[in-house]
Amino acid sequence: MSWALEPEGGKVIELQPPNSKLQINTNYSATLFLSLHRASPLPSPKRLRAGRPQRKAEGEGFGNQNIMVSYVKWISSSKQSLWRTIGLFFILMGPGIITSNVDNDAGGITTYSLAGAEYGLKLVWSLIPIMIALIVIQEMCARMGVVTGKGLSDLIREKFGAKITFYLVIGVFLTNMGNVLSEFAGVAAGWEVFGVNKFISVPISAFLVWLMVVKGSYKSVEKVFLIACVFYISYIITGVIVKPDWGNVFDQFLHPRLSFQPSEMTMLIGIVGTTIAPWMQFYLQASIVEKGIKTEDYKFARFDVVFGAIAVHIVAFFIILVCAETLFKHGVKIETAKDAALSLAPLAGKYCTYLFAFGLINASLFAASILPLSTTYLICEGLGWEAGIDKKFIEAPQFYGFYSLIIFLGAGIILYPSFPLIPIMYFSQVLNGMVLPFILIFMLLLINDKKLMMNYTNGPVFNIIAWVTSIVMIALTLLLIIQML
């Protein structure tokens, strides 16, 4: 129930005792609309959280918040441009780095491991063009987020209408569901290396992931995610432990060899497909918007994106390197990331196995936290439902409903004994490939919309790069689909 006023109802007098909202319309003074849930003696929890008094409480309760506030103030008043620049970057970093790192999820690690084990360092050169493609695409998303202040699904809905958005949402939901499945499979596999049964590890992980988002705020969640990014170092350490022949590594980068052998092409397309996925564009743009980055500070967001893309490919490179130096050299055949971890023990020592498995768990959990959330935001925004982790269940039932469904369905399916995981993953990859072209094309149309982007549309040179990237991406994913069918 909510209070109501006839707009033509004449002068409205508001009697506002400090703690309740009571409105009387003079023309209908007999009718008194009083909102039940608004008349509570305290402001609603959201107000308390968002409103001013809370800030003081924060300053008092958590010393670091206070430090953060004064840090931000110091940065924005600092005259020395270098410090100002570096400081601002640390405040504004996050979305790009997180999105890119989630890219190295269970599926990504598996693909890189397989590439390294089967082809050695032969495909390692491909990381450089893929990185450039990733930067180009992510940069456009970041720019749209900063300039319009709206999520990608919002923009698609507003420009292309409800019908297209609806089918797109279904498509992205299905592919993301497949990805979530593979993340939980990754969690199960990673823990099995340490001897933990999947019936223990998967339910606990699912519950933790669910809890973190339902009970946390964006700020705290982002911090957890940034810490998770640091743990990718475990792969770099593993890479150093196996003592690769660095001369050969550089040689591979300098002399890329492209062969059109079908199996090699499939692997190459697989690497591309796992690195540039539809959900990333939605997630990146949404978190840029959530962070409220201003147009003047856009350069920091761009740096964040570039930095993230480079970091993620360094990790990917080390995964390939580890598998190439050990498994490929000794001709060990593997099928999954878990195989890769286990096969490392006799060749490079058990610590390598543990580090590798730890990296897998970290990556899977990380992605399992982000994917369901990103999917839920996308569904709710596209279809016009209330969304946001700061809303109560009753205010946003679809949001919490979908979020819980994705996590518990994802975890539940993994626990089901004879589930056909491999065909499902294939299907999800095919869908991935079918959805991606549409999203890339929509993005290019949106970013060149003068009315929307004003002075921030693509320049001619960048537009050519972006279109070429997109067309190559589309061609490769179509190839992937054709091969799979």
């Binding site: 909202k21 003081k56 409800a162 609806f166 201003k294 016009g384």
Partner: protein, 411 residues
């Protein structure tokens, strides 16, 4: 002219519908409907037809038939751009469909799924926007299917979720600019609700709303907005408007807001304000956030003890629009030292000709300006006052803390 109109229409029934001329040849497809920009229920004045890649406007009078098929009397179409001034019309698909709007009745931001028209004589008028799941399914073309399925399995009839057009506030810039009437829809909202709505919007829509709101409403809403978003808005709106808004805000909220802005910007805003008000704010800005001084406001009424009750009430009435503290009058001596506090209850129950000196209580509770905020909360809890005076070491009244400002501290 009988066009065979049904009683009700949805926008989705028109969108992409084929249009024919009198001879039965296909002219094109409908890509938009044009409504007049008028209140409360705008009339549809024409359709936009996409024909051979061009968009053409067809006035409603040229349509001879709608049911069973859409036919035009002549094919001489008008180019969309020329005859239509933007401020008199709304292009429904471009500006309303799939966009976010403010539902000023339910006080929230929603997305439009469909539009609902009612036939009045031979014309259609826009009466509702549809924001429900049924509307969405209708757009996708699954309405019948979903409806039947829900009826069959759950005996559940999927309801329409309509919002009357008179409660709809569009957020597209052009509407906020052109239609002064519609701004009033937003002013009907409670400031706290308006603040919630503004927080939900994108940066661009926020500035558009703040441009359109009158200063008073903008200031009231601003007081309720999240500090981080407050800051972002203050940095985007023109300086003059910012000064006006801050001037209208309650001093304690205004000081908090200015304290968050970069110093130069805060100084510019202060310079654009009334001298007196700016002085007050500068004084408040000196105090750290977490002390009594950081919580207080200077918009209270102080009188000397010789003033009569009658005069005091008159002064309170006259000053009311600018006062944050209405519950108490503070009594000072010539040296501005706090002598007593008289509540509005004391005033109403006293004889009109009594001087305040006779009704003021002998003891007055106050807090020191550098007192920690938690002590302030305790004082409120202990005495149950609605406001507490703040004094300096010598007992001069420096400001007053409203109990609203301490809500939430320590939770």
């Amino acid at each position: 002219m009988d066009q065979g109109l049904k009683e009700f229409y949805f926008f989705s029934e028109f969108l992409n519908r084929r249009v024919f001329d009198t001879t039965g040849l296909k002219v094109g497809k409908i890509s938009d409907l044009v409504a007049e920009r008028a209140e409360p229920y705008p009339m549809i004045i024409g359709v936009v037809v996409r024909t051979r890649g061009r968009k053409m406007f067809i006035p409603w009078e040229k349509i001879i038939q709608i049911e069973p098929r859409f036919a035009l009397s002549e094919t001489e179409l008008i180019d969309l751009k020329s005859p239509l001034p933007e401020k008199d019309i709304i292009l429904l698909r471009e500006e309303v469909m799939d966009k976010q709007i403010v539902d000023t009745f339910g006080a929230k931001v929603v997305r439009v799924n469909d539009l609902h028209f009612l036939r009045v004589d031979s014309r259609l008028r826009l009466v509702h926007v549809d924001v429900g799941f049924r509307g969405l399914m209708r757009r996708v073309g699954w309405e019948k299917l979903v409806d039947q399925a829900l009826r069959w399995f759950f005996s559940y009839v999927l309801p329409n979720q309509f919002i009357s057009w008179k409660y709809v506030q569009l957020l597209s810039g052009s509407d906020l600019l052109h239609l002064s009437v519609s701004q009033k829809k937003l002013s009907h909202l409670h400031p706290a609700d308006l603040a919630d709505i503004i927080e939900d919007l994108s940066g661009r829509d926020r500035s558009a709303i703040f441009h359109a709101l009158d200063t008073e409403t903008a200031a009231e809403a601003m007081e309720e907005i999240d500090p981080k978003i407050q800051k972002a808005i203050m940095e985007t709106i023109p300086l003059e408007k910012a000064s006006d808004i801050v001037e209208e805000m309650s001093p304690s909220d205004a000081a908090d807001l200015l304290g968050d802005l970069p110093e130069e910007r805060a100084e510019e805003i202060l310079e654009g304000m009334e001298q007196e008000k700016a002085e007050d704010l500068r004084e408040l800005l000196v105090h750290p956030d977490e002390t009594a001084g950081g919580l207080m406001t200077t918009a209270y009424l102080s009188l000397t003890s010789s003033v009569t009750v009658e005069t005091a009430i008159a002064r309170l009435k006259a000053g009311a629009p600018n006062l944050d503290i209405m519950d108490y009058i503070f009594i000072l001596d010539e040296a501005e030292i706090l002598q007593g506090v008289v509540s509005i209850r004391d005033l109403l129950t006293a004889h009109p000709h009594q001087p305040l000196a006779e009704i003021q209580p002998s003891r007055v509770v106050s807090v020191k300006v550098d007192e920690d905020q938690n002590e302030v909360v305790e004082a409120f809890a202990k005495y149950g006052f609605r406001a507490l005076p703040v004094v300096d070491e010598e007992g001069h009244l420096r400001g007053v803390i409203s109990f609203r400002s301490v809500l939430g501290i320590g939770t």
